[in-house]
Amino acid sequence: MKHLKTNISIFAFVLVAVFTFTACSDEVKDPPKPNEGELITTVELTFTNTASPSEVSIFRFADPDGEGGNTPSETDTIALAANSTYALTVRFLDESKTDVEDITTEVLEEAAEHRVCYTSTAGTTVVITDQDANGLDLGLAATVATSNVDNGTFQVSLKHQPDVKDGSCNVGETDVEVAFVLEVE
């Protein structure tokens, strides 16, 4: 009799457990689609020659599947004319989805936390022409002046600087850093 009682307890125990075991699991088979969050896949630079505003060149760097995965699909070489001045605007895009999202608007909304920085060689100089509400450089717009014919690099980086933005490029976290090959012809 005692044994029977024991056996019944074990049986009940296992039964309860088995029920719990086999429950749920539909959620598992329905994972979220990738890249639903914010992702910057593309940097797009638009150079407008200030002497002839119809002369507009667009250069792009694009890695549509984000970090890792496939290698970047577009890595343009920037070609500029010697001894010229250009108005530069930059756009950051998310092209991982069918609806391309312009992240630049977010950067602009949070201008006080962001800074676009440029490092260029080959005798070019970059002067930032836009500022945030605190009067610190933002960098979505700039003037680029070239000098003699030369080759070099033109690096664009987007810094996220919440609470630490001081106008410099030496603080914060780097969200974008692309080094374009630069040819001044």
């Binding site: 044994h3 024991t6 457990a17 598992v28 984000g66 970090e67 030496n170 780097t174």
Partner: protein, 752 residues
């Protein structure tokens, strides 16, 4: 009631009416069942001290009634009357509140009266309360042969035999703790205040707790109730300066002997602000933890039923300066002597941060059956929620958001047939992981099952144990590749086996040996990592074709106790086939954030050769000197290379003074201890982002005692007395900031 009670257990041999009888017995802590060595047993004018196993013998007593007086450090003399008619063996349980401060860690196989081949160390309830430990790593401080893999100050994972994460199992009573343990910055979700004691089992000396714990097992046990009716309330408080903060814990325990019913409620809360190094504040390293558990136990004759429910909630700030976007940021951090972000001290926790919740409930049934021996059946449900936030999205949208639910059933049968003990059992587990938002590991559903059998033969001078275990698992993963939902299936199974045992060579020397083979299935991150790891400047790639890894392990221990010496020497050797690790590949991959170094999970063959040494020498009646060393050499033997992320050699020592009464303080100790951690030189050139940190020397001290005759007990201590600026190779923050500077702390325990 603090009552001494004795059980008259065994009456053997000998005929009645002997005029002379022998009395022998064992003294145990009634709470932990740990034998109490150096207890003073007095009968008439005869006195004897219990030995290292709590045992004592008094020979040639006259038959008749005797008063047995038993005392131990921290416990008033308690008396019990015995009528001795023949040779008698008694088990004396000293109540828990005997303040048994003598040893931090009890060595040998002391916790368990059962024959056992486990290579074990136990941290007692008392010690856990003294430490006011909020994490497993706090609880295991100063345990020989344990070091920690850290992310800052609050996230720490124990390292045993050089191994951590997936190669160490944390077992809560008898079921495995299931969190996202694959991550190096994911600490085990355990509140030691709810625990009765913690066992540290090194190497592969048992197969009872799963086949994959190659490095060792940390087992958290609930406290036993005293064998009397009582209500006890304990309060615990801790305050410290670095990180500035405090902790309050409450333990309420009620036990009715008559009903066989006991309850225990534990609530523990901790809050601290930013920690500091010797030179600057570590911004955003605040910490908050709220944990609680309820345990109830009902004993009716031969059956025992217990129920546990626990909740654990943590919010941890991640050092602001450690969250970087790319290699340029990292290099800037590396070349800077101070962190690039340092604000004044605050309690506020901002992103980047982690929010972790762990809920568990367990139903356990234990029955003493004449036919099957002890039957232990348990069901455990655990739900682990992990959210990690970065400073891009704030706390509204987690960068990592995982929900892991686990159901487990464990069945164990444990039977003694004369000097043979047979244990066998089954485990079954169902687990499902789901994620929200950003992909890091896929959703999966996993079924695990295991069966084991262990046979132990114990004789007076030796013990030998053999075990066999079979484990299998089936995992189905679900993830999107592009727009396609992909379902992949992984099946792994394998055998584990071990032979362990010890031999008591003579009264002073005991030798322990263990040989085992085990296997571990590749974990989800090793298979599926694909891309940038949150906050680190590296691309990590898993490999879906990884095979299971197999270990062949040898663990030994030599324990020598003679006069003033107490020596423990524990060498070990592990050979791994298909050892899985994250290897820097040397490649760089271009992305929109610049070029990142690529790390890949690879398989190779590896060896772990190590030695843990613990030497203790009693200088005088109150003074003890201790020295510990932990040496480890790890090699990738297939490629003749060093392996990344292995702890450096460590040495520590301690000078300890114990006293029964001094300046109104009772049963206390004071110690001062230096520790030296060497530089890790066994690394491949240019593999890491920076050179390994320099060797460092630290000095700590602690005073602990009971205030007069009151139940007030306190500890006061200072860590890093010299305020040394140092970085540790096993701390991920070493790239960004120094480790902790000087810290003063005080812990108070009061029992009503």
């Amino acid at each position: 009631m603090r009552k001494l009670f004795a059980l008259l257990v065994l009456c053997c041999g000998g005929m009645l009416a002997h005029s002379q009888v022998n009395l022998s017995g064992i003294v145990r802590d009634s709470a932990t069942q740990a034998p109490l060595s150096l207890s003073l047993i007095q009968v008439g004018n005869l006195t004897v001290l219990s030995d290292e196993h709590g045992q004592f013998t008094l020979s040639n007593l006259t038959a008749g009634t005797h008063t047995l007086a038993v005392s131990h450090v921290g416990c008033k003399v308690k008396k019990v009357s015995l009528k001795l008619l023949q040779d008698t063996f008694v088990t004396v349980h000293l109540p828990h509140h005997a303040h048994t401060f003598g040893e931090v860690v009890a060595y040998g196989h002391l916790d368990d009266s059962e024959p056992d081949a486990r290579l074990i160390q136990t941290v007692s309830t008392r010690r856990l309360e003294q430490l006011a430990a909020v994490s497993l790593s706090d609880a295991l401080q100063h345990t020989n042969g344990v070091s920690f893999l850290k992310t800052g100050t609050t996230i720490a994972k124990p390292i045993i035999n050089g191994m951590h994460s997936n190669r160490i199992s944390v077992i809560n009573d008898d079921s495995k703790q299931e969190g996202q343990q694959w991550g190096s910055e994911h600490a085990p979700e355990i509140d030691p205040l709810s625990a009765g004691s913690i066992e540290l089992i090194k190497g592969a000396s048992t197969l009872r707790y799963g086949g994959d714990a190659m490095g060792g097992v940390i087992r958290v046990l609930p406290a036993l109730f005293n064998d009397s009716s009582y209500t006890k309330i304990s309060l615990l408080a801790k305050g410290e300066t670095n990180p500035n903060g405090g902790q309050i814990g409450l333990k309420v325990e009620n036990h009715s002997k008559k009903l066989g019913l006991g309850h225990r409620l534990v609530v523990n809360a901790k809050r601290n602000g930013d920690a500091a190094t010797s030179n600057y504040v570590l911004s955003n390293t605040g910490f908050a933890q709220l944990s609680g558990s309820y345990y109830t136990q009902y004993i009716n004759g031969k059956s025992q039923l217990s129920l546990t429910a626990s909740a654990f909630i943590q919010e941890i700030g991640i050092l602001a300066a450690s969250h970087i976007g790319n290699v340029t940021d990292l290099n800037r951090a590396l070349t800077s002597d101070t962190p690039l972000i340092s604000h004044p001290f605050t309690y506020t926790i901002n992103p980047p941060s982690q929010r972790i919740q762990h809920y568990a409930s367990k139903l356990k049934w234990k029955h003493k059956s004449r036919k099957y021996g002890d039957i232990i059946l348990s069901y455990t449900f655990q739900n682990n929620l992990r959210q990690e936030f970065d400073n891009h999205r704030g706390t509204s949208d987690a960068a990592l958001d995982l929900n892991l639910a686990t159901h487990q059933i464990n069945l164990l049968l444990d039977k003694h047939i004369e000097s043979i003990r047979i244990q066998y059992g089954l485990m079954a587990e169902q687990q499902q992981n789901t994620f929200q938002g950003r992909y890091f590991i896929p959703n999966y559903e996993r079924y695990k099952a295991g069966a084991f059998a262990i046979a132990t033969l114990e004789k007076e001078k030796y013990l030998i144990e053999g075990g066999l275990r079979y484990d299998l698992q089936n995992t189905n993963t679900y993830r999107f590749v592009g727009n396609d939902l992909v379902n992949e299936t992984f099946n792994f199974d394998g055998l584990s086996a071990n032979v362990s045992g010890w031999r008591r060579v003579n009264h002073d020397l005991k030798i322990h040996l263990s040989a085992a083979t085990r296997f571990r299935s590749p974990d989800i991150n090793e298979l599926f990592s694909d891309g940038l790891h949150h906050g680190s400047a590296a691309l990590e790639f898993g490999d879906l074709s990884l095979k299971q890894e197999r270990s062949y392990s040898l663990n030994a221990a030599l324990n020598y106790n003679h006069n003033r010496w107490r020596v423990a020497v524990e060498p070990y050797f592990h050979y791994f086939q298909n050892y899985i690790y994250l290897k820097p590949s040397g490649e760089k991959q271009l992305s929109i954030r610049g070029a990142f170094p690529v790390f890949r999970y690879v398989q190779t063959d590896a060896t772990y050769t190590g030695l843990d040494v613990d030497l203790r020498y009693r200088l005088a009646s109150n003074w003890t000197a201790e020295a510990q060393a932990a040496l480890l050499y790890v090699e990738d033997v297939r490629n003749n290379q060093f392996i990344f992320g292995i702890p450096a050699q460590r040495f520590s020592g301690r000078l300890k003074y114990t006293f029964a009464e001094k300046l109104g303080l009772q049963n206390g100790y004071w110690w001062i201890g230096p520790s030296y951690t060497a530089r890790q030189t066994r690394v491949e050139a240019n593999e890491d982002f920076t050179a390994t940190p320099e060797a460092y020397f630290l000095l700590d001290t602690e005073l602990s005692a009971q205030y007069r005759e009151t139940p007030l007990h306190f500890s006061f201590g200072v860590r890093n007395i010299l305020n040394t600026a140092y970085r540790d190779y096993m701390n991920r923050y070493r790239y960004f900031a120094d480790d902790l500077g000087i810290n003063f702390y005080i812990t108070i325990n009061y029992t009503f």
